[in-house]
Symmetry: C2
Subunit: 183 residues, 2 copies
């Protein structure tokens, strides 16, 4: 499969539904990198336009792939080397196009059902055939200017009740397992 994952820090919403650039959460990078390695995702793009935040991500990558961390925990190295940091969704798309020689189908994720939503079942079929770029939003979720410009928005995770407040780490795990897992 030719599946790519992006963790978007801009443009996303804050608690008051204003457009912001969110901060990097170190554990997000580790958790989603390990998840990506487990499910053989080809590359995991951490997306932020803020230079100091890009530096933090690069420091994490260096520590775990070249620094002390690489010796201390080689398993982590295998996961972290899938991580790349880019300034925008567009830059990630360009990099994927360069590697795969085709434009990826872009599937965004959201906790609410959006226009142009796609079921897990249908999304799974696309992943089997095409290059796909799955976008996860940090903070209070992907800004509508992202949701309105992707190919599809994945249906939400419903769980058992009406509570829709998973962390991006756990939501990404459930989504990747449903889309790529054995079953």
């Amino acid at each position: 499969m030719r599946t790519y994952v992006g963790l978007v820090h801009y443009p996303v919403y804050n608690k008051n539904m204003e457009k912001i650039a969110s901060s990097i959460t170190t554990l997000d990078i580790h958790d989603i990198a390990r998840l990506s390695r487990t499910y053989e995702v080809k590359r995991f793009y951490v997306i932020t336009p803020l230079i100091d935040q890009q530096r933090i991500v690069k420091a994490i990558i260096d520590h775990w792939t070249k620094g002390y961390g690489a010796k201390y925990n080689p398993d982590r190295k295998e996961a972290i080397r899938l991580v790349d940091v880019v300034e925008s969704i567009e830059e990630a798309v360009r990099k994927i196009e360069e590697r795969e020689k085709e434009r990826p189908v872009i599937i965004a994720t959201d906790a609410k059902r959006q226009k142009r939503f796609i079921s897990f079942e249908d999304a799974r079929k696309i992943l089997e055939k095409k290059t796909v770029f799955i976008l996860f939003g940090t903070a209070w979720g992907l800004h509508k200017e992202v949701l309105e410009n992707v190919d599809f928005v994945l249906e939400p995770i419903y769980g058992r009740g009406d509570y829709r407040h998973l962390s991006v780490r756990t939501a990404a795990a459930i989504i990747i397992d449903r889309l790529i897992g054995e079953g």
Copy 2:
């Protein structure tokens, strides 16, 4: 469903396969509480015999259910109030027995296939009928004295390759979704 979740900080392994009590990771508590609320798990037991670590968990619970956090983020309050801190797996089992008037079926989880393993499909059937207590291990996983004394050990998450190093947060998300999710 009468499903309970436990996050075990003792007895677990460290990197050198020694028996230890691990430290609390704040994000584990938030992530697994939100997951528990999403899938209508009845109670989430954080298990540690260390008094100072128990205090940290209690401070988190108080902050988000009674303190400033409860006002700032009522959604988080709904999740965190499922959390209880106990000193041992046995204490959690006793509390579940008191609530449900029956002994729970205890299902442990591990990254490797163990004796008395149970498939996700079979475990799902048990959850539909009985009180079940699912145990997740922190650090390098549940000690064998736990694995040898539970009713079942769930089959591992295989992903797509041979990499078996998910965080406990993301592993718990995938497992809970597979056992309790709509599908």
